[in-house]
Symmetry: C2
DNA sequence: GAATCGATTCAGTCAGTTTTGAACTTTCAG
DNA sequence: CTGAAAGTTCAAAACTGACTGAATCGATTC
Protein backbone atom coordinates (compact mmCIF):
# COMPACT_ATOMS: atom_id res chain seq x y z
CA UNK A 1 0.00 0.00 0.00
CA UNK A 2 2.60 2.56 1.05
CA UNK A 3 4.64 0.98 -1.71
CA UNK A 4 2.08 1.88 -4.33
CA UNK A 5 1.68 5.43 -3.05
CA UNK A 6 5.41 5.92 -3.29
CA UNK A 7 5.36 4.50 -6.78
CA UNK A 8 2.51 6.70 -7.82
CA UNK A 9 4.19 9.76 -6.39
CA UNK A 10 7.44 9.00 -8.15
CA UNK A 11 5.74 8.45 -11.48
CA UNK A 12 3.91 11.71 -11.14
CA UNK A 13 7.13 13.53 -10.42
CA UNK A 14 8.99 12.00 -13.34
CA UNK A 15 6.20 12.77 -15.74
CA UNK A 16 5.88 16.36 -14.64
CA UNK A 17 9.60 16.96 -14.64
CA UNK A 18 9.58 15.68 -18.20
CA UNK A 19 6.92 18.18 -19.13
CA UNK A 20 9.09 20.92 -17.65
CA UNK A 21 11.98 19.95 -19.88
CA UNK A 22 11.48 22.79 -22.33
CA UNK A 23 11.78 25.27 -19.51
CA UNK A 24 15.23 24.00 -18.66
CA UNK A 25 16.24 23.74 -22.28
CA UNK A 26 16.73 20.00 -22.39
CA UNK A 27 14.73 17.26 -24.09
CA UNK A 28 11.85 15.46 -22.49
CA UNK A 29 13.57 12.11 -22.13
CA UNK A 30 16.67 13.73 -20.72
CA UNK A 31 14.57 15.43 -18.08
CA UNK A 32 12.72 12.21 -17.26
CA UNK A 33 15.95 10.31 -16.80
CA UNK A 34 17.24 13.05 -14.60
CA UNK A 35 14.07 13.09 -12.52
CA UNK A 36 14.19 9.33 -12.13
CA UNK A 37 17.77 9.43 -10.91
CA UNK A 38 17.09 12.40 -8.69
CA UNK A 39 14.41 10.62 -6.69
CA UNK A 40 16.17 7.26 -6.46
CA UNK A 41 18.10 6.34 -3.38
CA UNK A 42 20.53 4.12 -5.18
CA UNK A 43 22.33 4.68 -8.45
CA UNK A 44 20.47 3.08 -11.35
CA UNK A 45 21.80 1.05 -14.26
CA UNK A 46 21.03 1.71 -17.91
CA UNK A 47 18.65 -1.25 -17.86
CA UNK A 48 16.80 0.07 -14.83
CA UNK A 49 16.25 3.30 -16.70
CA UNK A 50 15.22 1.60 -19.95
CA UNK A 51 12.64 -0.41 -18.06
CA UNK A 52 11.30 2.41 -15.93
CA UNK A 53 10.82 4.81 -18.83
CA UNK A 54 10.20 2.28 -21.62
CA UNK A 55 12.91 3.62 -23.90
CA UNK A 56 15.48 1.91 -26.11
CA UNK A 57 19.05 1.21 -25.12
CA UNK A 58 20.42 3.65 -27.67
CA UNK A 59 18.17 6.41 -26.48
CA UNK A 60 19.13 5.82 -22.87
CA UNK A 61 22.80 5.75 -23.73
CA UNK A 62 22.73 9.02 -25.66
CA UNK A 63 20.70 10.90 -23.10
CA UNK A 64 22.79 9.62 -20.22
CA UNK A 65 25.86 10.89 -21.99
CA UNK A 66 24.27 14.29 -22.48
CA UNK A 67 23.33 14.47 -18.83
CA UNK A 68 26.89 13.62 -17.83
CA UNK A 69 28.14 16.30 -20.25
CA UNK A 70 25.80 18.83 -18.70
CA UNK A 71 27.13 17.86 -15.30
CA UNK A 72 23.72 16.91 -13.95
CA UNK A 73 24.46 13.25 -13.27
CA UNK A 74 27.58 11.18 -12.81
CA UNK A 75 28.72 7.66 -13.60
CA UNK A 76 29.23 5.32 -10.68
CA UNK A 77 31.27 2.17 -11.00
CA UNK A 78 30.25 -0.34 -8.39
CA UNK A 79 33.32 -2.38 -7.72
CA UNK A 80 33.17 -5.91 -9.05
CA UNK A 81 30.35 -4.99 -11.42
CA UNK A 82 30.87 -4.64 -15.09
CA UNK A 83 27.82 -2.58 -15.83
CA UNK A 84 27.75 1.06 -14.88
CA UNK A 85 25.36 3.00 -12.74
CA UNK A 86 24.32 6.60 -12.68
CA UNK A 87 23.42 8.99 -9.93
CA UNK A 88 22.00 12.51 -10.03
CA UNK A 89 23.88 15.34 -8.38
CA UNK A 90 21.86 15.52 -5.19
CA UNK A 91 22.49 19.18 -4.42
CA UNK A 92 19.57 21.01 -5.99
CA UNK A 93 21.19 24.39 -5.84
CA UNK A 94 24.26 23.07 -7.57
CA UNK A 95 22.07 21.56 -10.23
CA UNK A 96 20.31 24.85 -10.80
CA UNK A 97 23.63 26.66 -10.93
CA UNK A 98 24.96 24.24 -13.53
CA UNK A 99 21.95 24.61 -15.78
CA UNK A 100 21.90 28.37 -15.49
CA UNK A 101 25.58 28.85 -16.25
CA UNK A 102 25.42 26.55 -19.25
CA UNK A 103 22.42 28.31 -20.69
CA UNK A 104 23.97 31.68 -20.09
CA UNK A 105 27.04 30.55 -21.96
CA UNK A 106 25.29 28.64 -24.74
CA UNK A 107 22.33 30.87 -25.34
CA UNK A 108 22.72 34.35 -23.93
CA UNK A 109 26.37 35.03 -24.80
CA UNK A 110 25.90 34.34 -28.52
CA UNK A 111 23.03 36.75 -28.79
CA UNK A 112 24.91 39.48 -26.94
CA UNK A 113 27.71 38.92 -29.40
CA UNK A 114 25.32 39.20 -32.32
CA UNK A 115 23.67 42.35 -31.07
CA UNK A 116 27.07 43.98 -30.72
CA UNK A 117 27.90 42.96 -34.24
CA UNK A 118 24.58 44.34 -35.46
CA UNK A 119 25.39 47.65 -33.83
CA UNK A 120 28.89 47.74 -35.29
CA UNK A 121 27.48 47.12 -38.75
CA UNK A 122 25.58 50.40 -38.62
CA UNK A 123 28.05 52.39 -36.60
CA UNK A 124 29.09 55.99 -37.29
CA UNK A 125 30.53 56.14 -40.78
CA UNK A 126 27.62 54.36 -42.37
CA UNK A 127 25.22 56.76 -40.64
CA UNK A 128 26.98 59.93 -41.67
CA UNK A 129 24.83 60.90 -44.66
CA UNK A 130 21.51 60.02 -46.13
CA UNK A 131 17.88 60.32 -45.21
CA UNK A 132 18.19 57.14 -43.14
CA UNK A 133 20.35 58.76 -40.48
CA UNK A 134 17.43 59.12 -38.07
CA UNK A 135 16.30 55.60 -38.82
CA UNK A 136 19.73 54.28 -38.05
CA UNK A 137 19.94 56.24 -34.85
CA UNK A 138 16.61 54.86 -33.69
CA UNK A 139 17.66 51.36 -34.61
CA UNK A 140 20.91 51.63 -32.75
CA UNK A 141 19.10 52.96 -29.73
CA UNK A 142 16.92 49.89 -29.63
CA UNK A 143 19.88 47.60 -29.90
CA UNK A 144 21.55 49.45 -27.05
CA UNK A 145 18.44 49.17 -24.87
CA UNK A 146 18.30 45.48 -25.51
CA UNK A 147 21.98 45.08 -24.81
CA UNK A 148 21.70 47.03 -21.57
CA UNK A 149 18.83 44.96 -20.21
CA UNK A 150 20.32 41.63 -21.21
CA UNK A 151 23.63 42.61 -19.66
CA UNK A 152 21.98 43.74 -16.45
CA UNK A 153 20.07 40.50 -16.19
CA UNK A 154 23.23 38.54 -16.83
CA UNK A 155 24.98 40.36 -14.02
CA UNK A 156 22.20 39.85 -11.55
CA UNK A 157 22.00 36.16 -12.41
CA UNK A 158 25.71 35.83 -11.92
CA UNK A 159 25.48 37.58 -8.59
CA UNK A 160 22.64 35.33 -7.53
CA UNK A 161 24.67 32.26 -8.34
CA UNK A 162 27.66 33.58 -6.44
CA UNK A 163 25.56 34.40 -3.39
CA UNK A 164 24.34 30.84 -3.18
CA UNK A 165 21.18 29.70 -1.41
CA UNK A 166 22.09 31.09 1.99
CA UNK A 167 23.22 34.47 0.80
CA UNK A 168 20.11 34.55 -1.31
CA UNK A 169 17.88 33.82 1.64
CA UNK A 170 19.50 36.59 3.64
CA UNK A 171 19.34 39.04 0.76
CA UNK A 172 15.73 38.19 0.21
CA UNK A 173 14.86 38.77 3.86
CA UNK A 174 16.66 42.09 3.87
CA UNK A 175 15.15 43.35 0.67
CA UNK A 176 11.64 42.30 1.58
CA UNK A 177 11.91 44.67 4.51
CA UNK A 178 13.09 47.47 2.24
CA UNK A 179 10.70 46.85 -0.65
CA UNK A 180 7.50 45.62 0.92
CA UNK B 1 25.30 51.52 -49.21
CA UNK B 2 24.29 52.56 -45.70
CA UNK B 3 20.93 51.18 -46.71
CA UNK B 4 22.35 47.75 -47.34
CA UNK B 5 24.32 47.73 -44.12
CA UNK B 6 21.20 48.56 -42.17
CA UNK B 7 19.39 45.84 -44.02
CA UNK B 8 22.12 43.34 -43.35
CA UNK B 9 22.23 44.23 -39.69
CA UNK B 10 18.48 43.92 -39.34
CA UNK B 11 18.43 40.55 -41.03
CA UNK B 12 21.16 39.29 -38.79
CA UNK B 13 19.28 40.42 -35.72
CA UNK B 14 16.01 38.84 -36.82
CA UNK B 15 17.69 35.56 -37.61
CA UNK B 16 19.54 35.37 -34.35
CA UNK B 17 16.55 36.38 -32.31
CA UNK B 18 14.72 33.56 -34.01
CA UNK B 19 17.42 31.12 -32.98
CA UNK B 20 17.03 32.33 -29.41
CA UNK B 21 13.33 31.53 -29.46
CA UNK B 22 13.67 28.32 -27.49
CA UNK B 23 15.35 30.22 -24.70
CA UNK B 24 12.34 32.46 -24.31
CA UNK B 25 9.90 29.61 -24.68
CA UNK B 26 8.25 30.77 -27.89
CA UNK B 27 8.41 29.40 -31.43
CA UNK B 28 10.96 30.48 -33.99
CA UNK B 29 8.58 32.35 -36.26
CA UNK B 30 7.00 34.08 -33.32
CA UNK B 31 10.41 35.30 -32.24
CA UNK B 32 11.30 36.42 -35.75
CA UNK B 33 8.11 38.41 -36.08
CA UNK B 34 8.75 39.95 -32.73
CA UNK B 35 12.32 40.83 -33.66
CA UNK B 36 11.18 42.37 -36.92
CA UNK B 37 8.63 44.55 -35.18
CA UNK B 38 11.05 45.43 -32.43
CA UNK B 39 13.58 46.93 -34.81
CA UNK B 40 11.09 48.69 -37.07
CA UNK B 41 10.37 52.34 -36.62
CA UNK B 42 6.85 52.14 -37.91
CA UNK B 43 4.17 49.60 -37.18
CA UNK B 44 4.07 46.89 -39.85
CA UNK B 45 1.11 45.29 -41.58
CA UNK B 46 0.52 41.58 -41.90
CA UNK B 47 1.63 41.78 -45.52
CA UNK B 48 4.86 43.55 -44.61
CA UNK B 49 5.63 40.72 -42.24
CA UNK B 50 4.68 37.99 -44.70
CA UNK B 51 7.01 39.52 -47.25
CA UNK B 52 9.91 40.17 -44.93
CA UNK B 53 9.94 36.68 -43.45
CA UNK B 54 8.56 34.75 -46.42
CA UNK B 55 5.75 33.11 -44.49
CA UNK B 56 2.12 32.44 -45.35
CA UNK B 57 -0.79 34.59 -44.35
CA UNK B 58 -2.18 31.97 -42.00
CA UNK B 59 1.09 31.54 -40.26
CA UNK B 60 1.49 35.26 -39.81
CA UNK B 61 -2.04 35.61 -38.49
CA UNK B 62 -1.66 32.86 -35.90
CA UNK B 63 1.69 34.00 -34.62
CA UNK B 64 0.63 37.61 -34.45
CA UNK B 65 -2.31 36.57 -32.34
CA UNK B 66 -0.03 34.63 -30.00
CA UNK B 67 2.28 37.59 -29.64
CA UNK B 68 -0.65 39.83 -28.78
CA UNK B 69 -1.84 37.24 -26.25
CA UNK B 70 1.61 37.18 -24.69
CA UNK B 71 1.50 40.94 -24.49
CA UNK B 72 4.69 41.38 -26.51
CA UNK B 73 3.14 43.32 -29.39
CA UNK B 74 -0.02 45.33 -29.89
CA UNK B 75 -2.42 46.02 -32.70
CA UNK B 76 -2.43 49.52 -34.10
CA UNK B 77 -5.32 50.86 -36.12
CA UNK B 78 -4.22 53.66 -38.38
CA UNK B 79 -7.25 55.86 -38.83
CA UNK B 80 -8.81 55.69 -42.25
CA UNK B 81 -7.07 52.37 -42.97
CA UNK B 82 -8.91 49.13 -42.93
CA UNK B 83 -5.90 46.92 -42.54
CA UNK B 84 -4.26 46.61 -39.18
CA UNK B 85 -0.71 47.19 -38.13
CA UNK B 86 1.38 45.82 -35.32
CA UNK B 87 4.02 47.30 -33.11
CA UNK B 88 6.31 45.71 -30.54
CA UNK B 89 6.28 46.93 -26.96
CA UNK B 90 9.35 49.15 -27.15
CA UNK B 91 10.31 48.95 -23.49
CA UNK B 92 12.77 46.07 -23.25
CA UNK B 93 12.52 45.71 -19.52
CA UNK B 94 8.76 45.52 -19.74
CA UNK B 95 9.10 42.88 -22.40
CA UNK B 96 11.42 40.85 -20.25
CA UNK B 97 9.09 41.23 -17.29
CA UNK B 98 6.13 40.05 -19.32
CA UNK B 99 7.92 36.95 -20.56
CA UNK B 100 9.26 36.08 -17.15
CA UNK B 101 5.96 36.43 -15.35
CA UNK B 102 4.16 34.35 -17.94
CA UNK B 103 6.72 31.59 -17.80
CA UNK B 104 6.70 31.64 -14.02
CA UNK B 105 2.95 31.24 -14.08
CA UNK B 106 2.74 28.75 -16.94
CA UNK B 107 5.76 26.62 -16.21
CA UNK B 108 7.07 27.00 -12.68
CA UNK B 109 3.80 27.19 -10.75
CA UNK B 110 2.50 23.89 -12.11
CA UNK B 111 5.60 22.01 -11.13
CA UNK B 112 5.59 23.49 -7.64
CA UNK B 113 2.01 22.35 -7.38
CA UNK B 114 2.96 18.87 -8.54
CA UNK B 115 5.88 18.54 -6.15
CA UNK B 116 3.60 19.45 -3.26
CA UNK B 117 1.14 16.85 -4.42
CA UNK B 118 3.92 14.28 -4.69
CA UNK B 119 4.91 15.03 -1.14
CA UNK B 120 1.36 14.80 0.13
CA UNK B 121 0.97 11.43 -1.53
CA UNK B 122 3.67 9.97 0.69
CA UNK B 123 2.99 11.97 3.81
CA UNK B 124 2.98 10.63 7.37
CA UNK B 125 0.37 7.92 7.59
CA UNK B 126 1.61 6.07 4.57
CA UNK B 127 5.15 6.13 5.98
CA UNK B 128 4.23 4.84 9.43
CA UNK B 129 5.15 1.18 8.99
CA UNK B 130 7.10 -0.95 6.59
CA UNK B 131 10.68 -1.36 5.50
CA UNK B 132 10.26 1.55 3.11
CA UNK B 133 10.01 4.15 5.85
CA UNK B 134 13.61 5.28 5.36
CA UNK B 135 13.17 5.30 1.62
CA UNK B 136 10.13 7.46 1.92
CA UNK B 137 11.88 9.82 4.28
CA UNK B 138 14.79 10.22 1.87
CA UNK B 139 12.40 10.77 -1.02
CA UNK B 140 10.45 13.38 0.84
CA UNK B 141 13.66 15.15 1.77
CA UNK B 142 14.62 15.46 -1.86
CA UNK B 143 11.25 16.82 -2.77
CA UNK B 144 11.55 19.38 0.02
CA UNK B 145 15.00 20.43 -1.16
CA UNK B 146 13.72 20.91 -4.65
CA UNK B 147 10.72 22.82 -3.42
CA UNK B 148 12.89 25.07 -1.28
CA UNK B 149 15.25 25.99 -4.10
CA UNK B 150 12.52 26.56 -6.66
CA UNK B 151 10.60 28.70 -4.20
CA UNK B 152 13.68 30.75 -3.35
CA UNK B 153 14.39 31.33 -7.02
CA UNK B 154 10.81 32.31 -7.61
CA UNK B 155 11.01 34.87 -4.84
CA UNK B 156 14.23 36.38 -6.05
CA UNK B 157 12.89 36.61 -9.58
CA UNK B 158 9.79 38.32 -8.31
CA UNK B 159 11.89 40.75 -6.32
CA UNK B 160 14.04 41.45 -9.33
CA UNK B 161 11.00 42.26 -11.41
CA UNK B 162 9.61 44.53 -8.72
CA UNK B 163 12.91 46.37 -8.37
CA UNK B 164 12.92 47.24 -12.04
CA UNK B 165 15.99 48.15 -14.06
CA UNK B 166 17.01 51.10 -11.91
CA UNK B 167 16.62 49.38 -8.58
CA UNK B 168 18.46 46.47 -10.09
CA UNK B 169 21.33 48.65 -11.18
CA UNK B 170 21.61 50.14 -7.71
CA UNK B 171 21.35 46.77 -6.03
CA UNK B 172 23.98 45.40 -8.32
CA UNK B 173 26.36 48.24 -7.57
CA UNK B 174 25.84 47.85 -3.84
CA UNK B 175 26.26 44.11 -3.83
CA UNK B 176 29.31 44.15 -6.01
CA UNK B 177 30.98 46.17 -3.29
CA UNK B 178 29.93 43.68 -0.64
CA UNK B 179 30.65 40.51 -2.62
CA UNK B 180 33.66 41.29 -4.77
C1' DG C 1 41.43 -15.97 -28.02
C1' DA C 2 36.53 -16.96 -28.05
C1' DA C 3 32.37 -15.93 -25.88
C1' DT C 4 29.56 -12.94 -23.37
C1' DC C 5 27.81 -8.81 -21.61
C1' DG C 6 27.11 -4.30 -21.86
C1' DA C 7 27.86 0.41 -23.98
C1' DT C 8 28.02 3.26 -28.14
C1' DT C 9 26.95 4.86 -32.63
C1' DC C 10 24.23 6.16 -36.48
C1' DA C 11 21.19 5.59 -40.59
C1' DG C 12 16.53 5.22 -41.11
C1' DT C 13 12.01 5.77 -39.11
C1' DC C 14 8.57 8.08 -36.77
C1' DA C 15 5.94 11.39 -33.84
C1' DG C 16 5.11 15.80 -32.81
C1' DT C 17 5.15 20.56 -34.44
C1' DT C 18 4.91 24.07 -37.65
C1' DT C 19 3.40 25.85 -41.94
C1' DT C 20 0.61 26.16 -45.81
C1' DG C 21 -3.31 27.28 -48.54
C1' DA C 22 -7.95 27.10 -49.39
C1' DA C 23 -12.42 27.83 -47.33
C1' DC C 24 -14.75 30.77 -44.45
C1' DT C 25 -15.90 35.11 -41.83
C1' DT C 26 -15.95 39.95 -41.12
C1' DT C 27 -15.86 44.66 -42.44
C1' DC C 28 -16.65 48.31 -45.20
C1' DA C 29 -17.44 51.13 -49.56
C1' DG C 30 -20.39 51.98 -53.19
C1' DC D 1 -27.31 44.46 -50.94
C1' DT D 2 -23.06 43.23 -53.38
C1' DG D 3 -18.27 42.88 -54.07
C1' DA D 4 -13.77 43.44 -52.52
C1' DA D 5 -10.32 43.60 -49.10
C1' DA D 6 -8.61 41.98 -45.01
C1' DG D 7 -8.48 38.62 -41.21
C1' DT D 8 -9.16 33.89 -39.25
C1' DT D 9 -9.41 29.01 -39.04
C1' DC D 10 -8.10 24.35 -39.72
C1' DA D 11 -7.15 19.96 -42.27
C1' DA D 12 -3.48 18.33 -44.69
C1' DA D 13 1.42 18.56 -46.03
C1' DA D 14 6.04 19.44 -44.84
C1' DC D 15 9.49 19.61 -41.69
C1' DT D 16 12.27 18.81 -37.64
C1' DG D 17 14.39 16.59 -34.31
C1' DA D 18 14.00 12.57 -31.19
C1' DC D 19 14.02 7.49 -31.03
C1' DT D 20 14.83 2.87 -32.49
C1' DG D 21 17.36 -1.14 -33.46
C1' DA D 22 20.95 -3.34 -35.72
C1' DA D 23 25.85 -3.15 -36.27
C1' DT D 24 29.85 -2.24 -33.91
C1' DC D 25 33.05 -1.67 -30.25
C1' DG D 26 35.29 -2.68 -25.74
C1' DA D 27 35.95 -4.99 -21.58
C1' DT D 28 35.91 -9.05 -18.92
C1' DT D 29 35.70 -13.91 -18.07
C1' DC D 30 36.66 -18.62 -18.95
Amino acid sequence: MSRSRLQESRNLFVRRWGEMSAYWGITRTMAEIHALLFISNQPLSTDDIMTALAISRGNASMNLRSLVDWGLIERVHERGQRREFFRAIPNVWHMFETITRQRQRREVEPILETIRRCRDLVSDESARRGESAAEIRAYRERLDDMLAVLTAIGKIVDLMLRLGPNGLRRLNATLLRLVP
